[in-house]
């Protein structure tokens, strides 16, 4: 089995709202997969379908090789889930909840539990009501990272964590990957995604609009180039994939579809390059482009 999650053409409506409208998602075993999209794109709905909490109207979903709706219990034994907003029982301590979640999954590594509690600086004796948002999140994260499972499904898991804890979280995810586990990470924190994810899927309006490695995604976008030339440029305007061309004397600024970068550089080289800066698209630009198209 090489696919941890395999979803195709998933549809789910609530009344007149189409939360999922033909979603596709492939997560390879052993990878950290970023799951991105603007608010309301259907990320959480998709995750709830993957957990068998919601039943898809149509389409196929396989999680760890099984249908998550009909084989929920077997699948869940090998999954740890962290929701974006953790609610705890007011009169149970954090430690009790961690152990409960562990036993409800495939079991808990007690050494790792102790280590994680220390790293996340969590007080496990406090009762549910007295935890802050960040600390409630830590309870679920410790339970998930200490669990003996194959797949982690994390739905905006770091909301409420401070930057130090965010760093601990990133190290934990990297460790999970090194141990050969698969992680599906839904997140809005792009540096986190850039740091951790092997591949990402971007969804919009319940549909996958882009999927691949970050390098592949970058390839589909524009690179900005600024150059100072020996003489005036020639023939740049006629090249395919060139946008926003701005020539002032020997100075050139342009945007080029990354796939056509080679031809542009050749043309610039013909005029003699004195200095050149080429900026690949930032992840922010990548996402802004996709997110903004919703509006």
């Amino acid at each position: 089995m090489t696919k941890a999650i395999s979803v195709s053409g998933l549809h789910k409506s609530f009344g007149r709202t189409h939360a999922l409208d033909g979603l596709d998602l492939e997560v390879e075993a052993g990878e950290v997969h970023g799951f991105l999209g603007p608010n309301g794109a259907g990320k959480s709905t998709a995750i709830r379908v993957l957990l068998g909490l919601l039943r898809a109207d149509s389409g196929a979903a396989q999680v760890l090789g099984h249908d998550p709706w009909t084989h929920a219990v077997e699948v869940h034994r090998r999954i740890a889930y962290v929701p974006g907003d953790v609610t705890l029982w007011r009169n149970l301590s954090g430690g009790e909840v961690i152990d409960l979640y562990g036993r409800l999954r495939g079991g808990l590594d007690t050494r790792r539990r102790a280590e994680l509690i220390e790293r996340f600086e969590l007080d496990p004796t406090k009762k549910g009501r007295t935890y802050s948002k960040g600390n409630r999140q830590k309870v679920a994260l410790v339970a998930a990272f200490a669990a003996d499972v194959d797949l982690l499904i994390l739905d905006e898991p770091t909301s409420g964590l401070d930057p130090l804890m965010e760093e601990v979280f990133q190290r934990c995810v990297a460790e999970e990957r090194d141990r050969g586990r698969t992680v599906l990470l839904s997140s809005h924190i792009l540096s986190e995604v850039e740091e951790l994810c092997d591949r990402v899927s971007i969804i919009r309006n319940g549909r996958t609009v882009e999927s691949g490695s970050l390098a592949e995604l970058r390839h589909l976008t524009r690179t900005s180039v600024t150059a100072e030339l020996a003489g005036p440029p020639d023939g740049l305007a006629g090249l395919p994939g060139v946008h926003d061309l701005d020539v002032r004397g020997n100075r050139v600024r342009l945007q080029v579809d990354t796939g056509h970068l080679d031809a542009v550089l050749r043309s610039l080289g013909a005029s003699g390059v004195r200095s050149l800066t080429s900026t690949p698209p930032t992840l922010e630009e990548l996402f802004l482009r996709h997110y903004q198209e919703t509006r």
Partner: protein
């Protein structure tokens, strides 16, 4: 200059700022809750005079009733003493205490809902970060309860005016005043505890204690003069004596108690942090032993089962101790027998009394089973069920954990009620425990209805409280109201054999058990097939 432009103009703390806005908001949120409670209470009271007129039409019948109430301490314990023979006095006697209890429950629910509930959920934090004074939320909650009680008082007074204007005003004021006493008591409880559930439980426990004190006091004296009655807020309503030479100064006592409690609540609310309480939570264990959904359900419901068990045991004890009095009835007086028969019994007066009392316990158990089953709904809508169900836990097993507590717990609390009863009565516990067990199928049907609603219509699951409430009203008030048999038969309790005394009647008991099983099964099938609500 730019620095001063940011400074806030000093205007004092303004602890009540924003009360008006919050009050309007609370009334809007309660636009269904309050009218339903007020309507039920009003209809209950206003249906009485006509019924009582048909039951006790002649002067001789009423004189007979008065004589019975003077001699029968058990009946006095149930409904209170009778102070006059006018239709108004009869009405105040028959439903005064119950109308006051309903007003008290309505008021305590309203106050906790708009105070501790809001704080516990964290919603109040956002509200109070606006232009809202420290005491505004409590004030708005109390004013909401007061408004509901005031409307109730006006409706009751207007509806009973034909029986005597002064008596009608006293009756309405007494019922509403009792509501306010428990509203302010709930306000104190909401300051003391961190959980709304506990605040409601404490106040409801105080209400139960008030009922027991009044019952004990009334069984000891014929005119409500026992100190036990005077200690109980529910005793004040009867000692106001509507329609029987009103003692208006009792209203001062009621108002004084409400004001004093309100002052305590105000003092407390000004002295604590938002979201915190005076009974702080202690740290828990760093490691847990909970490992299954069933263990989790048992743990979550442990406190409530303990509370209900204690309540049922004490109630059984009190009812049991009253039973001897029922046997002291003036010979085989036909009228008294009829009263008890109408309260749910048959044949032999003592047995009938026992059956009526245990039937009451059975009816109250409907509230337990409803609340316990609806924990499923609370877990689901709060999002706490989601991570549990994302573990290796099937939905049926998750639900079964709570249903075992709900259905098993109803057997447990009824048996404990029976043990208390046998102890207080000092007789052979066998038949009494048997009578308690005979209530179980009806309780389970109510629980099954709640499972059905949760499984098929999770967003309307609170309607299960409506089912339990309707059954309670039918059981308590229905027989006295000449409600058509067909309507009474809608309640599962109407089909139970009146044990002890009557012969055991297996077919309805088995049919009700089967019905409960069917409702539960359909509900669970629905739960398994539907989306989880979030």
């Amino acid at each position: 200059m730019t620095a001063t432009a940011l400074a806030v103009r000093p205007g004092g703390f303004r602890p009540l700022a924003g009360t008006g806005t919050l009050l309007r908001f609370a009334l809007r949120r309660d636009r269904v809750l309050i009218p339903v409670w007020v309507a039920v209470n009003t209809l209950l009271v206003l249906s009485m005079p006509g019924t009582l007129e048909s039951l006790y039409g002649t002067a001789a019948e009423r004189a007979d009733l008065i004589r019975q109430m003077e001699t029968n301490s058990s009946l006095r314990a149930m409904v209170g003493p009778l102070f006059g023979d006018s239709l108004g006095a009869l009405t105040a006697w028959r439903v005064g205490v119950y109308a006051a209890v309903l007003a008290a429950v309505m008021s305590l629910l309203i106050v906790v809902r708009h105070t501790r509930d809001e704080e516990e959920s964290g919603r109040q934090e956002l509200v109070q970060s606006g232009m809202v004074g420290r005491r505004a939320p409590l004030t708005a909650a109390l004013l909401t309860a007061a408004a509901a009680d005031a409307v109730l008082a006006v409706l009751l007074a207007a509806g009973l005016a034909a029986r005597g204007a002064t008596g009608a005003v006293a009756f309405g004021a007494g019922v509403a005043g009792t509501g306010l006493v428990f509203a302010t008591m709930a306000a104190i409880a909401a300051q003391l505890t961190e959980s709304a559930r506990l605040a409601r439980g404490l106040t409801a426990g105080a209400l139960g204690a008030a009922f027991v004190l009044r019952a004990a006091g009334d069984s000891a004296t014929t005119d409500g003069s026992s100190p036990l009655t005077w200690v109980s807020p529910l005793g004040w309503q009867e000692n106001l004596r509507p329609f029987a030479g009103e003692r208006w100064w009792v209203l001062l006592l009621i108002a004084g108690a409400a004001l004093a409690q309100g002052a305590v609540a105000y003092g407390l609310t000004g002295r604590r942090d938002v979201g915190m309480s005076f009974l702080p939570t202690r740290p828990g264990p760093a490691h847990g032993r909970l490992g299954t959904a069933g263990a989790l359900a048992r743990r979550l419901q442990r406190g409530s089962v303990l509370g209900w068990s204690a309540g049922f045991f004490v109630a059984g004890l009190v009812y049991g101790a009253m039973t001897e009095g029922a046997a002291d009835l003036v010979g085989d007086n036909e009228g008294a027998r009829e009263i008890i028969a109408r309260l749910g019994g048959q044949a032999g007066v003592t047995d009938a009394f026992v059956a009526a009392m245990i039937g009451t316990l059975g009816l109250i158990a409907a509230l337990y089973v409803t609340g316990s089953v609806l924990r499923l709904n609370g877990e689901e809508t709060s999002g706490r069920a989601e991570p549990v169900l994302a573990g290796a836990v099937g939905r049926l097993r998750w639900a079964a954990g709570h249903l075992v507590v709900a259905f098993g717990g109803s057997v447990l609390i009824l048996l404990l009620g029976g043990c208390g009863y046998a102890l207080g009565y000092g007789r052979d516990p066998g038949p009494i425990l048997g009578a308690c067990l005979a209530q179980v199928p009806a309780v389970w049907v109510i629980g099954g209805a709640a499972v059905l609603l949760h499984g098929l219509l999770p967003r309307a699951a609170v309607a299960a409280w409506g089912v339990a409430g309707a059954v309670l009203l039918l059981g308590w008030i229905g027989p006295a109201l000449d409600v058509p048999e067909a309507v009474l038969d809608l309640s599962p309790y109407g089909h139970l054999p009146k044990l002890p005394g009557a012969a055991m009647d297996w077919p309805p008991v088995l049919l009700l058990t089967a019905l409960a099983a069917l409702l539960t099964a359909v509900g669970l099938a629905g739960l398994r097939r539907r989306d989880l609500t979030t």
